[in-house]
């Protein structure tokens, strides 16, 4: 009787140790949910969601600190995708974070007016503004995400919003109307 108990206990402990070792050895790194949320966000790093960028916002959503409707650049499409991924209700964009833009925009600096104060360079989250103190600044249009964060700091209001005209290079087919979106497969 005692042999049975001891044998079983010892064998089970050895197996437990093997499993404990392999759970450390074959540990899966990273939280895959944060990565999935991050890929759905538009990566404008605009900070309109009140977080420092898209990745911190994704982490906040994964931790349940932030709601899914705080991303104006992503708009309704991002909210629907996030609701689908997280299995929660779709809700309209939170107006406190901004408005949805129908067309993608970029900013340009009126170079005649610019005084070279560098304030907009510090505000730009994606380093799309080129310039130095007392030198004229300019926006690298291919890098600009249209977050408009550089507009409030400008002391001379020389930054203006332009809609991006679709060209052969950046044209994409427009999304269908929301009512025609197929229900996700169950």
């Amino acid at each position: 009787m005692l042999t049975v108990i001891i044998t079983l206990a010892v064998t089970a402990s050895i197996f437990g140790l093997i499993l404990a070792y392999s759970s450390v050895r074959f540990k899966v790194e990273g939280d895959p949910v944060v990565d999935k949320i991050d890929t759905l966000l538009p990566q404008t790093q605009c900070g309109q969601c009140t977080y420092a960028g898209c990745r911190p916002y994704a982490e906040a959503i994964a931790n349940g600190e932030a709601d899914i409707n705080q991303c104006p650049p992503g708009g309704e499409a991002t909210i629907i995708a996030l609701a689908d991924l997280l299995d929660v209700e779709v809700k309209p964009l939170n107006a406190e974070n901004g408005e949805v833009k129908t067309l993608p925009t970029i900013v340009r600096i009126d170079e005649q007016v610019c005084i070279g104060c560098t304030l907009c360079i510090q505000a730009c989250p994606v380093d799309a503004i080129l310039g130095a103190a007392k030198q004229m600044h300019t926006v690298i249009e291919s890098e600009c995400t249209g977050c408009n964060l550089c507009i409030p700091p400008c002391p001379v209001d020389c930054i203006h919003i332009f809609e991006v005209k679709p060209t052969i290079r950046n044209w994409t087919a427009s999304l269908p109307d929301a009512e025609f979106v197929a229900p996700s497969a169950g």
Partner: protein, 193 residues
């Protein structure tokens, strides 16, 4: 060498675990709806079956028999199988997250796949040595994989076929499995092990 070839032939065709011994029917019916999941399940089961066959042989030979605890075989083998399945789950999760998602609940359910315990117990009953246990376990897994994949491929075609209403769904699947089992009866007497 002939002996091992005969063990393989016997377990894969003549004494097929699913269609002749009727072991492991749960995953056979449960995971055979799609060919990809069937292949994934077949791979995972092959790994688990071979490993658990060998390790239960070792446990039996070097722990249970020297201590005279042969009557504890079943509970010990269940422990071994549970550990092997857990280990497999960790390895699959690490190496192939996609396969991990596809297999889902069926991966831990290999624990309760009676074919796995059946192989371990039959190894003892037929007094296999280490190499024979290895081949017996692998052969059983290969036979299981063969019929699971064949059955999944059949079922994929059956879903688009014009089946009478009374036979739709699981009924036609069970009838198909029965006919496959009849077909495998044809291998009986091919080899005698």
């Amino acid at each position: 060498m002939t002996e091992y070839a005969l063990i393989l032939l016997s377990t894969v065709l003549v004494n097929n675990f699913v269609l002749v011994k009727f072991l492991g029917l749960c995953p056979f019916m449960g995971v055979s709806r799609k060919l990809e999941t069937a292949i994934g399940m077949a791979l995972a089961t092959t790994f688990v079956l071979t490993l658990s066959s060998v390790s239960s042989y070792l446990v039996n030979e070097y722990i249970l028999i020297p201590l005279g605890l042969e009557y504890m075989r079943t509970i010990m083998f269940i422990l071994v199988i549970a550990v092997v399945v857990q280990f497999t789950e960790m390895v699959v999760h690490k190496t192939s997250p996609l396969l991990y998602n596809v297999l889902g609940i069926f991966l831990p359910l290999i624990t309760t796949n009676c074919a796995v315990l059946g192989v371990a117990l039959l190894n003892v009953q037929q007094q296999h040595n280490f190499i024979q246990s290895l081949f017996y376990g692998f052969g059983a897994a290969a036979g299981f994989s063969l019929v699971l994949i064949l059955f999944a491929a059949l079922r994929e075609r059956i879903t688009v076929a014009d089946v009478p209403e009374a036979f739709q769904g699981t009924s036609i699947a069970l009838i198909t499995a029965g006919i496959m089992s009849l077909a495998f009866m044809g291998f009986a007497g091919l080899v005698k092990v």
